[in-house]
């Protein structure tokens, strides 16, 4: 229990640091949201002071001391208020994020999980049956990983989407038949159909790394005495492989998975651009292109919190799967 509390405490401090940095960094940038907004909507006559004042209130620009603003910012955050997006004015940032986030979470989350499960599984087999055909898969998957991702994605999009017509070319769902996301089987089917090709590219480009890492860990773990001992005990090869060799070899991959999991939220920006996918990465690129600071700020905050959350989760999971990391907790 102390172990969990200590971890939680550490992550609470890290989250506070992230939130605070997120408050100060945009304020160090020249200009304020109102100027940015005005420069977008009108370039001719200066706006009337009342209009400017109204915008200042909406964007939360004030001349209060920084600490007052800071506490106001914290209060707004607690209410889920990230301010207004400039590009999508007057839609609040939280709404923009809420619309984009599920797409990314599902697409990248699912494809990352498939990548890791497939990579680790094949890697374990390749290490176990070193020198067989499955071990021979490694060079070909590494070849896929060596192709720059956007290029691989474009080629697959061209071949499977454009030439063969098996998959749609862009968007997260069929925009001709649905006006927006809805809770129906047909919509779900359409979303899965649109997500398959992007997911395929993510899996193809990522699986090699996991496979190679797991395969090599497997080979070195198999030389450990406890694996030989398990074999000497007469255990079935399946049990020796899973409970003794793979169980220990997978530990570094779990840590790696943690790190990747945090970046699920930031999205595969390249994927979302190539496939014109309505996820958070796409929203971030748009925000950057149009200097939409409130939106960027909101997305960055979500990303930092997601990375922290994923790391916390894996820290806790690691405590479960590797008893050695629990040592302090017992003492």
């Amino acid at each position: 229990m102390r172990f969990v509390l200590r971890k939680l405490g550490f992550y609470a401090i890290a989250a506070w640091a992230a939130i605070t940095l997120n408050f100060f960094i945009p304020r160090l940038i020249k200009g304020n949201p109102v100027d940015l907004f005005l420069s977008r909507v009108q370039a001719t006559s200066p706006p009337p002071p009342e209009y400017r004042r109204a915008l200042e209130l909406q964007f939360g620009v004030s001349d209060d001391p920084l600490w007052v603003q800071y506490f106001g910012y914290l209060k707004n955050l607690a209410h889920g208020n990230f301010g207004l997006s400039i590009t999508n004015y007057p839609v609040p940032v939280s709404t923009v994020i809420a619309q984009a986030l599920p797409w990314t979470l599902v697409l990248v989350g699912v494809s990352l999980t498939i990548t890791v499960v497939l990579g680790v599984g094949l890697g374990a087999l390749a290490g176990w049956k070193r020198g067989t055909w499955i071990d021979g898969l490694i060079p070909s998957t590494t070849f896929l990983a060596a192709i720059p991702y956007f290029w691989l994605a474009l080629i697959l999009l061209f071949l499977l989407g454009s030439t063969l017509g098996w998959f749609p070319l862009n968007f997260g769902y069929d925009v001709a038949n649905f006006t927006g996301p809805e809770a129906s089987g047909a919509f779900l089917g359409s979303a899965i159909y649109h997500g398959t090709l992007p997911a395929l590219t993510i899996v193809l480009s990522g699986v090699a790394g996991w496979m190679l890492g797991m395969r090599n860990m497997m080979v070195s773990t198999m030389a450990e005495d406890y694996v030989v001992m398990a074999e000497a005990k007469g255990l079935s090869p399946r049990r020796v492989m899973l409970s003794y060799a793979a169980r220990n070899a997978v530990l570094p991959s779990v840590a790696g998975f943690a790190i990747s999991l945090g970046f699920v939220v930031s999205g595969q920006i390249a994927t979302e651009i190539v496939f014109n996918y309505p996820g958070i990465g796409f929203a971030l690129i748009q925000a950057v292109n149009s200097a939409d600071y409130p939106l960027m700020q909101g997305i960055f905050l979500i990303i930092s919190l997601a990375v922290l959350g994923a790391n916390l989760l894996v820290d806790l999971v690691y405590g479960v799967i590797d008893p050695r990391t629990r040592q302090e907790a017992r003492a």
């Binding site: 406890y226 001992m229 005990k233 007469g234 409970s243 003794y244 169980r247 220990n248 050695r324």
Partner: protein, 324 residues
């Protein structure tokens, strides 16, 4: 001999297919029921390879290229160990020949509790045993080696080195095997713990009557615990005999050299002499006696490798035998 439990004849192990390195060369021994056979030798002489060959644990690039291993229980048909495969081999393992490994530190799975690792043996070999029965057997095993039953729930990293080695010994006893092969079981432990473990092994052996193949580089230790001894050099046995014979009357110059390299507690103070030179590269054996380059008595016949005759493989004695 009717009470031989394990008979090894002309066992040969190679590493690699092309230009193989012969790590174990025509090793033969008979292990009697309940006896302790000590095998001594320097690092790289092939003693661990021999242990792995006897337990059928060799992995590529190591290959068994010759010889036979026969396991016999009284009243049962002899088992040709080298012909066992698949399920038959797995069922034979641990039940008949168990093993204790070189490093106590690494022979337990770090992510499994002691309980699960002990219970694994029963789940595999006695699947009909109920959960409670398995638990009782596990507790009994820890009792045997003098470890608190509560430690069943411990992970290996929570145990000291000596305790871990006791656990592995308990594990080896799980199915009451006829033979336990011990590959340097005490090397990683300090001398006090080493003494405890040896006493423990001795006590348990009296209790259960298993035979032991005890492999170590520590000849002084072997002289004390084993009934019979084999000295290994460059993949071969160069001298065999009872511990008494070897201590009192070592014949092979290598054995004499080993005996001179540790001090005796009693008796006169003597200058210790090591053996000059280093063990030969097994990939570059010349066909002569492999010890000849380091041997103070080397003479002309040593360009041919001597056979093991009457417990010693040395021309000094075979020529005497011929002369007599």
């Amino acid at each position: 001999m009717s009470d031989v439990v394990l008979s090894v004849q002309d066992l040969t192990v190679d590493y690699g297919l092309h230009d193989p390195v012969r790590a174990v060369r025509q090793v033969s021994f008979d292990l009697a029921r309940g006896e302790v056979l000590g095998i001594a030798g320097e690092s790289g002489c092939g003693k661990s390879t021999l242990a792995y060959a006897v337990t059928r644990l060799l992995r590529p690039p190591a290959r068994l290229t010759g010889g036979s291993i026969t396991f016999t229980r009284p009243g049962e048909d002899p088992v040709d160990v080298l012909s066992l495969e698949g399920d038959a081999l797995r069922a034979f393992r641990w039940r008949r020949i168990a093993m204790v490994f070189q490093s106590a530190m690494n022979s337990l799975n770090p992510v499994m509790t002691v309980r699960k690792q002990l219970a694994d043996v029963f789940a595999t070999h006695e699947p009909d045993l109920g959960r409670k029965a398995v638990e009782a057997r596990c507790e009994e095993l820890l009792d045997l080696v003098g470890i608190d039953r509560a430690r069943l729930s411990a992970y290996p990293h929570e145990l000291s080195g000596g305790m871990r080695q006791r656990v592995t010994i308990a594990m080896a006893l799980a199915l009451r095997p006829d033979v336990i092969v011990m590959d340097e079981p005490t090397t990683a432990l300090d001398v006090v713990v080493q003494r405890d473990i040896l006493d423990e092994i001795d006590r348990l052996r009296e209790l259960f009557g298993f035979a032991v193949v005890f492999i170590t580089h520590d000849l002084s230790l072997l002289l004390e615990i084993s009934d019979r001894l084999a000295v290994m050099y460059a993949g071969r046995f160069v001298e065999t005999g009872t511990s008494r014979q070897i201590l009192d009357n070592p014949q092979h110059p290598y054995t004499q050299g080993l005996l001179r390299s540790f001090p005796s507690l009693r008796g006169d103070r003597e200058a210790l002499r090591g053996i000059p030179g280093t063990p030969p590269d097994l990939a570059r054996l010349t066909g002569g006696c492999p010890f000849a380059p380091r041997c103070p008595h080397a003479f002309e016949p040593c360009t041919h490798e001597p056979e093991l005759l009457d417990g010693v493989a040395c021309h000094l004695f075979s020529s005497k035998a011929v002369a007599a």
